[in-house]
Each structure stands twice: as structure tokens, then as C-alpha cells.
């Protein structure tokens, strides 16, 4: 097998996938900070090189896989990085179908976002820095995807977190952006503690964190549960699952291409990818899978309700992303890594599409508010509006768009789990999804104000081009379900299950109708759903932000105040107290030095007599 890989020059291709982005980052940050055009060129060159290599890798690997009846074994190329005797860590590449599929998502979206940003960031002073960060992000994400062991994953997991921080805070002069960047980093970091502990625990119990050996670990059920749940903590942070999801909506302060790339299509799904990557450990523990399903289902539902009440177009898609991430996680919890990955695959394209289209609207209207965009002529931007509708159809799961297929696969998996409550919840979430996605469409479709002088021109082609490509992908990727399953698992899976698809479609169409009734035409800014009293809870984000604010202000900063007080007044106080005591004693002693000879003589005589008496008594 390895020989075939060598013959197909796959190691060479992996190099061409790994290095260019990092090289582009280094070149831009060191030499091209003031030369924006050249910086963009370097970054795009790296991006297209990587994309081309990825596609070559895909064709070769796919061709190889097609020649085998079962799934290709993973092959890794590694270099010793760190060794302490009890374990050795290697740095390198792992190539299997999961890697290749994920690489396609990452590189295609990265490339399109870089192209799109030429238009979107036009005229921004920090473009060179923007492209440097984008390159660093794509490089780290790529390295995360091809990582052969959990330690390397953790390393790049943190680096993509850093890039997310840098890019959310890209417009650093906006205080909200600065706050959101910090929040994103600290929240995900909090989850990462779990991942780090899971890594340490695996290391301690097995001394090995290579993914290829996960299947043969032979962990006991308790240990597997423990390790899986710790790793899942990292997933909760990074893939923004309830209750650590609060950073993702705030992260929308970053430039929109960043939201599309990092906070919709790639970085946030790294958690889902990690689940599939370390599936053997998770599959060994039924408890862990149940917990994961629960978290995913709650996230999908909670986020969908919040998406229903947002006015900010990016916030709608942000909550929608959280909800869809919940779908992927719950699919994994239903023991279907395939449907989870397939949904990741389809979602990446339509959600990147929706975000980039939102960026195009915002670029045009200068506002994030849905109703503002509609007033300023959103529907006259034909390509942007049309592609948004395509994206919304996929998101709502309408046949034959890609979302339909992947959601169908998830629903089948959930049904097979045999939990009617879970199944019902996921079905209902599907209804909400259709409602909020078409709420956006119907609001945008409203008649613009007469005096909006913007005309009807759409964004430039560098922006609409990527939209069209993503829209085409959204229309057709779903059809590839059989091929995807065959490539990923080695056996053909999928196919539409009518018993699930028909109720799901009916619910989706009901949601669509509800959105149409509430928002088509007219000028009202709230629909039936908004008037429900219970919608106040999602409007207040389930009070989680308030809770975290309270925790930070009262508990964390309270502890900090307490420690600082103890430090200044007790620890340091005792040091100063010792110094003061010494000084005081010195002062007292110095009073004895009066300079009067008589006193000295008296003291001397007294001491000598005491001493003499003592000696006398001792001798006697």
C-alpha cells in the first residue's frame, strides 16, 4: 500500500498542501506588511497551490479507493518531534478518506473566501495583515486536518483558535470586536482544558496518541467514557455547543469573509471532525455517545429558537451554524459518523454561501439589519439574493438541495437510535430551521424604499463568482451521497428514506409557509412567532450571557480581588511587618544609648553583680 502511495507521489502532494500557507504567512508578516497588492498575490498563490494539490490528492486517492472493495487503510508519514522515553510524539501527515474529504472542504472554502475578500476588503488599510492571518488560519486548519495524532491536533487546534482571535479582533479599534475576540478565545480555551486533560489521560494510560492506534487501544468502558467526555469538552468549546456556544454569535464582529470561513465552514467544524477522527474511542462507550447526542440535540434546538428572533443577518446565520453543528454532533451521538461528516460536508458549502451572500448585502447596504437591507434594495441584487435563496433552501432541507440529503441521513440515524423524544426534537428543530431561514428570505424579498438611491447593481464579480460556485455546489453535492458513503466507509450507504423524508419535508414546508405568512409583503417587523411570550427567553439568549458575565465579574474577578488583597495585606503585610518590627526594635534599643556615663556605669555594675551572683551560685 505504501508503495502505491509513493508511486502516486502522495507524500509530495502532502508537502505541497502543508507548507504553502505557512510560507505565505511568514512572507507577508515579515516583508509585505505595507505592500497590500503583493501580499494578496502571495496569499492567493499559496491558496491556489494548496487547492490544486488537494484536488490532485483527491482524484488519486479516490481512484485508488475505487479500485478496492473496502475502505483504504490510513497511511501516515511522520517525523519524530518530541520523545521522553515513555512516549514519542510524531509530527506528520495522515492520509485516509476522512482527511481527504475534510481537506476538500477546507481548501475549497479557503480559496473562495480569499477570492471574495479581494472585493469585500477593498480599501481596508489592513489588508496585508488580513491576508496574513487568513493564510495562517488556513495553514493551521490544514495541518489540523492531516494530523496523525492527538497532540498535533491539539497544537493546531490552539493555533486555529489564535487565528480566530486575531481575525475576530481584526478591526481592533471597535471595542465590541476586541471584547468578542477575547471572549471567543477564553471560552474555547476553557473547553480545551478538557481536551488537554483527555490527551494527558490517554497518554498516561496508553502512552500513545496516534489516531491510527485508537482502534486497538482496548480501553475499558469507564476509561473510554472518561477520555471521550474529556475530548468532547474541547469539541463543546470549539464547535460551540451548548452551553459554551455564546462566543460564536459575538464572533460575528469579525469581517464577514472570516465568519464564513472560520465561524461557519471550517474551524467550528473541527470539533465534529475530531469526533469522527477519534471515533473508535467514542464508539467504545455507549454512555459517552448518549451524552454527546444530548448535547447536540439541545444545542440544535436552543440555537434554532434563538435564530428565529434575530434581526442581524449575520446573527441569524451564526445561530443557525450553532444549530447545524448541533445536528452534526447529535448525528455522531447517534453513532453515525458518516451522516455527521456528510452534513459537515454539505453544510460547509451552503453556510459559506449564506455568509458570503450576507457579506455582499452588508457591503451594499452598510448595515447588518435585515429590514434595513431590505429597505435599501436587497432583492435587486439578483445574484446575491438568488444564491441566498438556494442556500436557504438547502438549509431548510428542501428536496433536492444538499441539506435535504444530509439531514435525511441524520434523521435516519436518529430514528434508528429508538428515542422518540430525541427524534421528535430533531424533527421539530427542522421545522424551526425552515422557518428562520425563510424568514430571512421573505424579509429580504420586501419592496425597497422608493428613495433608496443605491440603484440595483450587485457586488463585483470577485464577490458574486464565489457565490455562484458555492450555489452550484449546494445544488449538486447532495446527489453525491452514495459516492461519499462508499468513499468514506468503503460500502455504499445512503439513499432517501421516504418514511423519514416525507414528514421532514412536510415540516420544512410548514415552516416555510409560516415564514411566508408572517413576513411576506407588508411592513411589519415581527411575525406570529415573535409575539409569543415565551420567545423572550431566546431573545435574552437563555440568560447565558448574563450568567457568564456574573461568573466573570463576581467569581473570577472576586477571587482575583481576594487574592490581591491577601497578597498585599497578609503576605506582603507580614514581610513589611517584620521589617517594621526590626525597625521598631532598633529604635527602642537605640534609646539605651543615652551617652550618659553614669547610666552606663550603673548598668555595668548591675550586670557584673548579676553575673557574679550567677557564677557564685553555679560554683556552689
Amino acid at each position: 500500500m505504501v508503495e502505491t502511495f509513493e508511486a502516486l507521489k502522495i507524500p509530495w502532494l502532502m508537502d505541497a498542501i502543508f507548507y504553502p500557507y505557512f510560507a505565505a504567512f511568514a512572507i507577508i508578516i515579515l516583508f509585505l506588511r505595507r505592500n497590500e497588492k503583493l501580499a494578496m498575490a502571495v496569499s492567493l498563490l499559496a491558496s491556489s497551490t494548496v487547492l490544486a494539490s488537494t484536488l490532485m490528492l483527491f482524484t488519486r486517492h479516490y481512484g485508488l479507493a475505487a479500485g478496492h472493495s473496502e475502505v483504504l487503510p490510513p497511511v501516515s508519514y511522520t517525523l519524530k518531534w518530541l520523545s521522553t522515553g515513555s512516549a514519542t510524539f510524531e509530527f506528520g501527515y495522515l492520509v485516509d478518506s476522512l482527511t481527504v474529504l475534510m481537506l476538500i472542504v477546507v481548501e475549497v472554502v479557503s480559496f473562495l473566501v480569499q477570492v471574495y475578500s479581494i472585493g469585500y476588503m477593498h480599501g481596508d488599510k489592513g489588508r496585508a495583515r488580513f491576508y496574513a492571518y487568513l493564510s495562517l488560519f488556513s495553514g493551521s486548519m490544514t495541518a489540523l486536518v492531516i494530523s496523525p495524532n492527538l497532540l498535533q491536533t491539539y497544537i493546531f487546534w490552539e493555533l486555529v483558535g489564535l487565528c480566530s482571535y486575531l481575525l475576530i479582533g481584526f478591526w481592533w479599534h471597535k471595542p465590541e470586536a476586541a471584547a468578542a475576540a477575547k471572549k471567543a478565545f477564553v471560552m474555547t480555551r476553557f473547553g480545551d482544558l478538557g481536551l488537554f486533560l483527555g490527551l494527558l489521560m490517554l497518554l498516561y494510560t496508553r502512552g500513545n496518541v496516534a489516531f491510527t492506534d485508537f482502534g486497538a487501544m482496548g480501553l475499558s468502558a469507564g476509561l473510554a467514557t472518561c477520555i471521550s467526555l474529556l475530548i468532547f469538552c474541547g469539541v463543546v468549546g470549539k464547535s460551540s455547543q451548548f452551553p459554551l456556544h455564546v462566543w460564536l454569535p459575538d464572533a460575528m464582529e469579525g469581517p464577514t469573509p472570516v465568519s464564513a470561513l472560520i465561524h461557519a465552514a471550517t474551524m467550528v467544524v473541527a470539533g465534529v471532525y475530531l469526533l469522527s477522527r477519534s471515533a473508535p474511542i467514542f464508539m467504545a462507550s455507549q454512555t459517552a455517545l448518549h451524552v454527546i447526542f444530548l448535547f447536540g440535540a439541545v444545542t440544535a434546538f436552543v440555537a434554532a429558537t434563538m435564530a428565529c428572533v434575530q434581526r442581524d443577518i449575520k446573527k441569524v446565520w451564526a445561530y443557525s451554524t450553532i444549530s447545524q453543528l448541533g445536528y452534526m454532533v447529535l448525528a455522531f451521538g447517534a453513532a453515525s459518523s458518516l451522516s455527521s461528516m456528510f452534513h459537515l460536508f454539505t453544510h460547509a458549502f451552503y453556510k459559506a454561501l449564506l455568509f458570503l451572500a450576507a457579506g455582499s448585502f452588508i457591503h451594499h447596504a452598510g448595515s447588518n439589519d435585515l429590514f434595513d437591507i431590505a429597505r435599501k434594495g436587497g432583492r435587486r441584487m439578483w445574484i446575491t439574493f438568488g444564491t441566498t435563496v438556494v442556500g436557504a433552501l438547502a438549509l431548510a432541507g428542501i428536496f433536492p438541495f444538499s441539506g435535504f440529503y444530509s439531514k435525511d441521513a441524520i434523521l435516519v440515524a436518529v430514528q434508528a437510535m429508538g428515542s422518540p423524544v430525541g427524534y421528535g426534537l430533531v424533527m421539530f428543530t427542522g421545522f424551526l430551521t425552515a422557518y428562520y431561514s425563510f424568514r430571512v428570505v421573505f424579509i429580504l424579498c420586501r419592496r425597497p424604499d422608493e428613495h433608496s438611491g443605491h440603484g440595483s447593481h450587485d457586488s463585483p464579480f470577485v464577490m458574486t463568482g464565489p457565490l455562484l460556485i458555492l450555489a452550484i455546489a449546494t445544488c449538486f453535492v447532495g446527489r453525491w451521497e452514495h459516492g461519499f458513503g462508499a468513499y468514506y466507509l468503503g460500502a455504499s450507504h445512503g439513499g432517501v428514506h421516504l418514511d423519514v423524508a416525507i414528514p421532514a419535508s412536510i415540516l420544512a414546508i410548514l415552516g416555510l409557509i409560516l415564514a411566508a405568512v408572517s413576513f411576506a409583503g407588508g411592513k411589519n417587523e415581527d411575525g406570529v412567532v415573535d409575539r409569543l411570550p415565551m420567545m423572550e427567553i431566546p431573545r435574552q439568549k437563555y440568560y447565558l450571557d448574563d450568567f457568564y458575565y456574573w461568573v466573570t465579574q463576581k467569581i473570577v474577578l472576586g477571587c482575583s480581588r481576594l487574592c490581591a488583597y491577601v497578597d498585599r495585606h497578609f503576605v506582603d503585610g507580614s514581610v513589611n511587618g517584620v521589617a517594621e518590627t526590626v525597625r521598631w526594635l532598633g529604635d527602642r534599643w537605640s534609646r539605651l544609648q543615652t551617652g550618659r556615663i553614669q547610666q552606663y556605669l550603673n548598668a555595668l555594675v548591675f550586670m557584673v553583680s548579676v553575673l557574679g551572683l550567677g557564677i557564685y551560685l553555679a560554683v556552689m
Binding site: 518530541l82 521522553t84 497544537i155 493546531f156 479582533g169 478565545f185 490581591a564
Partner: protein, 492 residues
């Protein structure tokens, strides 16, 4: 025995001092160039030592001759896997320190550089001495110039802080002295040579009571210099008051002398003592890590924040030592190196900001990224290294320490990990408040760092990245000797 490269390394700054003494007052440029030249010589020599060092370990580049026969004092120098990286750290930090205070120090330039070089000579001496008397003399040479550096060129309650630091550290060295004398007496007052003492101790093992009482003397005495809780309060005060280059040396190198002393003298001579007291050390250093981070969060002055973050990070070093396994040991040694570079970088950045803005209050700034992108970017690198971001050397060090900790005490390790999140929180919070946000028009006159300072930043950031990306540079050098040291602890 001939005099070799190690002697040259501590003599080079001394020669620099001699030349500086004879330079006329006012020849500032010449003064700076001479001290930079002295620092470059040590840099070259430490590179040479690093490259030539045989990773099979043991003391190398040994120079050994009798000095005072009657007391058995020897001039015995040698470098092993533990000290070689620290020698390089010292020369990197002094080199960058001189570069970053190139324009910052305007008064008494000559005296400033004399003291700096003197201090550095002492530090080199400590890292290479294998004789208790020389070790102690160099230790004091390293500590004392700091007093003058703080009270003459310092700021913010400088007399108080300088006095506090000096008295505190002298107080600590009294403990060390008592411990060393006890060992000297126990071994029959034949020699002060650490290696010979070790042989005598093996031949004539001390009683448990002796080990259990003398080891804590050495540990606490050296631990004070490593900011062991609750003997740490001199350190933030001292860092804040000291001028930039002195802070860099102080936090970057001097605090390592403490941890190094623990390993070289305490653990080397009395390994059983470490085993006996390990749990107490773990507990104290856990307080260091978490409590240090909490206190750092509360600070409003950049230098105080960094000072307390050093308390927290030095806690990681002692945490690793207390784990009694190879990962902990090597992590601790690596953390000494990593923290030295990182914190020097921090102080260099804060110094650059202070020189221009004349304040270090975090709240007083806002949006200065606009005016000082390089300084802020470099500061961010330091902060990220501090919160253990992979790619920087601090990550590898902390990873190793926590791995060792997890093997020994899983629950304690989990608690200590909270320190990492706290670090992320306060570093990024400071960053958000001072550097991001709407630019404050008050600071529109600020300028970015000079080209000379950028060289210093580049060296420091480059070192962090190099060791973070390819940690074997460090591990291959340190491994054998740390294993040997650990074997003493676990075998006894």
C-alpha cells in the same frame, strides 16, 4: 588545568567592566558599544558551548584546580545539560537587554552598563560553578548590583523596592549558607567542591533528620529567588521598580538562579530531601500557579501584571520539580529557559511603551495598536507564549510539566491547568484594554519601536519559535543529565 571557555564566558563581561571604568564620562555610544561587544562575546561563547556540548551528558568543558588547599576550595567549573541552555539564555537576555535599553537609559550610562555586566558575570558564574564557595560568591555578585540598578535608574517606589529585594534575597541566601555549612561540616570539612561533597555524602550518608532539615533550608533559600509562594512579594515590586534591561535580566535570568540552585545544590546533594518534601513543594507551587494568576488579573500596572505572571510561571518550574518524574524535570528545566526568553520579551515591550508614554497603567491606554503595531504585536507574542500557545517554547515546557504532573497527581494537575485559562484571560484582557479599542487621542504622539529594539524583539521571538517548533534542540541537550539527576532522587 588550563583555563577554558567557561572562564572566558564570565571573564568577558568583567573585562568589559574594566574597559568601561576607564572610558571617559559622556562617551555614551562607546559605552554601549563596549558592553554590547562584551555581551556578543558571551553570546558567541555560549553558542559554541551549546553546539560543542556532547548530548551524552556529564560535566563538560571542565576546569578544575585547587584554590585554597586548607579549606578544600577549588576553582571548579563545568557545564552540563542543565546549565548549558541557561548559559545561552543568559547571554541572549543580556544581549537583548542592552539593545532594548539603547535609548532608554540617558543618565549615568557608564555606571548602568558596568553594573549590568557585573551582574551578568555573576549569573554566568553561578551556572557554571561546581564549588560551593564560588557558587555562593557568584550568587551574591548576581544579586547585589540589582540594588543599585533599581535605586538609581528605577521608578515607582524604587528605594523601597530595591531595599526589599536586596534584603529579601540576602535573607534567602542566609538559609542557603547555613545549609551549605551544614553539608560542609557533615562531610568532614574536607572540601567545598560539590562533586567531591556528593561522593562523600554517598560514602557517608547523612541521617534522615539531617536530610529532612537541611534540604528545606536550601529549597527555601533558593526558592525565595525563584519567587516561591509565600516568599514572592519582593519579585513584583522589584520588577516594577527596575529599569527595563534590569527587569529583563531579573525576571529572565535571576529568578532562574533560584530554581537552578535548587537542582544543582539541593537536589544534587540531597536527593532524598526532594523525595521527602515533594508533596509540600507541589502544594506550594500549585498556590504559585493559581494564586499568581489571580493576583496578576487584578493588577492595573503592566509591570505588576507581568511580575505576578512570572510568579505564576515560576510556579510551573517548581511544580515540575516536585513531580519526581522525567517529564516534570525536563519540563521544569525547559520552562526555565522558555520563561526567561518570554518574560524578557515582555519587559522589553513594556519598557518601550513606558519610555514613550511615561505610564504603565493598563487603563490609561486604549487603541495604541494604531501607533505601535510592532510593539503590540511582539507583546502579543509574549502573551501568547505565556498562556501556553503551541508554537512557542512555553507550550512544550508546560505540556511536559503537566504531563509529568498528570502521571504523579492527576487531580492536582487538573487544578493547575486552570491557571492556563486564567492566564489567557488576564493577558488578553490587558491586551484588549490597552492595545485594542478606540484610539485614545492622548497617545497620538507615540512612535513605534526603534530598529535596534526590533533586533532584540526578533532575537527573542525567534528563539521562542525555534524552541517551540523544534523542542529537541533543548531536550536532546538536557535529557541525559536530567535523567541522571532524577535517578538519584528515585533510586535513593
Amino acid at each position: 588545568m588550563d583555563v577554558g571557555v567557561l572562564t572566558a564566558m564570565w571573564v568577558a563581561p568583567m573585562i568589559g567592566v574594566l574597559i568601561l571604568i576607564f572610558l571617559p564620562r559622556g562617551a555614551d555610544l562607546a559605552v554601549r558599544l563596549v558592553s554590547l561587544a562584551a555581551a556578543s562575546v558571551t553570546l558567541v561563547l555560549s553558542f559554541y558551548v551549546y553546539i560543542k556540548f556532547d548530548p551524552r551528558g556529564g560535566f563538560q568543558f571542565v576546569e578544575d584546580m585547587m584554590w585554597i588547599d586548607y579549606f578544600g576550595v577549588r576553582y571548579h567549573h563545568g557545564a552540563d545539560g542543565l546549565s548549558v541552555p541557561l548559559l545561552m539564555l543568559t547571554s541572549i537576555v543580556i544581549f537583548c537587554g542592552i539593545l532594548s535599553s539603547w535609548d532608554g537609559i540617558k543618565q549615568r550610562v557608564k555606571e548602568f552598563h558596568i553594573l549590568m555586566l557585573l551582574l551578568v558575570a555573576g549569573v554566568f558564574g553561578v551556572f557554571m560553578s561546581l564549588d560551593a564557595v564560588f557558587f555562593f560568591i557568584f550568587y551574591e555578585i548576581a544579586v547585589l548590583p540589582m540594588y543599585l540598578l533599581i535605586i538609581v535608574w528605577g521608578s515607582t517606589r524604587k528605594e523601597y523596592s530595591g531595599m526589599k529585594l536586596t534584603l529579601y534575597l540576602l535573607f534567602g541566601s542566609v538559609f542557603v549558607l547555613i545549609g551549605l555549612i551544614a553539608l560542609y561540616v557533615h562531610t568532614g570539612m574536607k572540601t567545598t567542591d560539590l562533586l567531591l561533597m556528593k561522593e562523600l555524602l554517598i560514602a557517608n550518608p547523612p541521617s534522615d533528620l539531617f536530610v529532612h532539615t537541611v534540604f528545606p533550608l536550601l529549597f527555601v533559600g533558593f526558592g525565595m529567588l525563584a519567587a516561591l509562594w509565600p516568599f514572592h512579594t519582593w519579585s513584583p515590586d522589584g520588577h516594577v521598580a527596575a529599569p527595563t534591561a534590569a527587569s529583563m535580566l531579573h525576571a529572565g535570568v535571576l529568578m532562574k538562579l533560584g530554581a537552578f540552585g535548587i537542582l544543582r545544590v539541593g537536589v544534587f546533594l540531597l536527593p532524598e530531601g526532594l523525595r521527602y518534601w515533594a508533596d509540600v513543594i507541589v502544594a506550594l507551587s500549585l498556590v504559585n500557579i493559581v494564586y499568581g494568576a489571580f493576583v496578576a488579573m487584578h493588577q492595573t500596572d503592566f509591570k505588576f501584571m507581568i511580575g505576578y505572571s512570572s510568579v505564576s510561571h515560576m510556579g510551573v518550574v517548581m511544580f515540575g520539580i516536585g513531580m519526581l518524574n522525567y517529564e516534570g524535570f525536563v519540563g521544569a528545566a525547559f520552562q526555565m529557559f522558555a520563561h526567561g526568553v518570554m518574560t524578557a520579551l515582555f519587559f522589553a515591550c513594556v519598557g518601550a511603551i513606558y519610555d514613550r508614554a511615561h505610564t504603565r497603567r493598563i487603563d490609561a491606554f486604549g487603541g495604541i495598536y494604531e501607533r505601535m503595531p510592532v510593539v503590540c504585536g511582539v507583546f502579543l507574542c509574549g502573551g501568547l507564549a505565556g498562556l501556553g500557545l503551541p508554537g512557542f517554547s512555553g507550550f512544550v515546557a508546560e505540556f511536559l510539566v503537566f504531563w509529568g504532573a498528570f502521571k504523579a497527581h492527576p487531580i492536582v494537575a487538573a487544578v493547575a491547568l486552570v491557571g492556563l485559562v486564567l492566564t489567557a484571560f488576564y493577558v488578553l484582557r490587558a491586551f484588549q484594554r490597552a492595545f485594542y479599542g478606540t484610539p485614545n487621542p492622548k497617545w497620538s504622539h507615540l512612535t513605534d519601536s526603534s530598529a535596534i529594539q526590533n533586533v532584540a524583539y526578533a532575537i527573542l521571538v525567534g528563539t521562542m519559535l525555534l524552541y517551540g517548533i523544534y523542542p529537541r534542540l533543548f531536550l536532546d541537550v538536557a535529557e541525559t543529565d536530567l535523567r541522571r539527576l532524577l535517578a538519584m532522587v528515585t533510586a535513593a
